[in-house]
């Protein structure tokens, strides 16, 4: 058994998850971890599977089984199996919608060695005044360095932010 990373994305419709996971089941694969969600009108699947399959064999099987769903599938080997980093902090960033918010803020995190564990963005607010909101969970052992880097980046971008430790009570 080894671990493969599978991605599949296509226009959303019923049956996508069922079709992909049925192939894994039929071929004796074991679903280890997954994230599956709608992004705009697309349904996106990212998963890790423990399997005897070679990457190219699994990809061919998935592509064949999901042909009519029009999915784009990729399969590749992962380097070793391990637990991911545990998030220590949460950063909420929001501001008037403009290009560069994600790149600017995550660039600041990368510069101080913070490791992003989970990131989600959303455009919220009224249609005539869209607000870009981003929530990032990340791991760091240098919270002060992160705080300075993020504050500088957010000021340059003209966006608001709140940084807190994970599970902090907030009342």
């Amino acid at each position: 058994m080894h671990e493969l990373a599978v991605t599949a994305i296509g226009t959303d419709r019923p049956g996508i998850v069922a079709a992909v996971t049925r192939v894994l089941q039929e071929r004796g694969g074991n679903l280890e971890d997954s994230a599956m969600t709608i992004l705009g009108g697309q349904f996106a699947i990212v998963l890790l599977v423990a399997t005897e399959d070679a990457p190219e064999d699994l990809r061919a099987a998935l592509q064949a089984a999901t042909d009519e769903l029009g999915l784009t599938v990729s399969v590749c080997r992962t380097e070793g199996v391990g637990r991911g980093a545990e998030a220590t902090h949460l950063l909420s960033v929001y501001g008037a919608d403009k290009p560069g918010i994600v790149a600017g803020v995550t660039g600041a995190l990368a510069d101080v060695g913070a490791n992003v564990v989970d990131l989600e963005t959303q455009v919220i607010g009224a249609a005539e005044q869209p607000v870009y909101a981003m929530v990032i969970e990340f791991a760091t052992d240098d919270p002060d360095g992160v705080a300075r880097a993020v504050a500088t980046a957010c000021e340059q971008l003209g966006v608001d932010h709140t940084l807190r430790t994970i599970d902090a009570e907030t009342y």
């Binding site: 989600e120 959303q122 608001d160």
Partner: protein, 174 residues
């Protein structure tokens, strides 16, 4: 009756520290009336703070009795100037919306019991002990006076949800 336009983010008045009201005169009483009139005129609105009317003053109006299921033991209309959170106990996660961040709700952790002290438009000191949803509403409005929005209160990525539909009257905080 004066219904004012509710200011929405990214207006800077929502992110600043509101100043003390202090002495209460005709202008302050008009602000109180504007808050009450605008709150009652806005569907689903159970509270409104002065910064949401573009006024950087420590004042809010609140009334959770207009909810479809009014919380038992609530205080009806409460208008306070220079309010302070005297005591906060308990902790609960629940969904909140805000008129200043339209079409968005997220989960916010709040104290379940609070004591709030402030001055009424008549100039009297009032102390309110609130619980449950009303306590949540007080904390939401107090946050507005310190430039804090619900997005500053999320504690996990999973707290942020898209709003599924528009609120019917009294369904969530404003």
């Amino acid at each position: 009756m004066t219904v004012k336009r509710v200011v929405t983010y990214p207006a800077r008045v929502l992110k600043g520290l509101a100043g003390p009201v202090g002495e209460i005169g005709p202008r302050e009483r008009q602000l109180a009336q504007d808050l009450v009139d605008t709150m009652y005129d806005s569907p689903g609105c159970v509270g409104l703070a002065a910064p949401q009317l573009g006024v950087a003053s420590r004042a809010f109006a609140l009334d959770v009795s207009v909810m479809r299921k009014p919380p038992p033991g609530n205080h009806g209309l409460v208008v306070l100037f220079d309010p302070e959170l005297v005591l906060a106990t308990g902790s609960e996660l629940a969904r909140e919306g805000c008129m200043s961040v339209p079409d968005f709700t997220c989960d916010v952790r709040r104290a379940t019991e609070v004591v709030v002290r402030g001055t009424t438009p008549d100039g009297e000191v009032r102390v309110v002990e609130a619980g449950g949803f009303e306590a949540r509403a007080f904390q939401h409005e107090l946050d507005h006076l310190d430039g804090l929005l619900v997005l500053d209160r999320v504690a996990a990525r999973s707290d942020v949800f898209p709003r599924k539909r528009r609120a019917s009257k009294g369904e969530h905080l404003k």
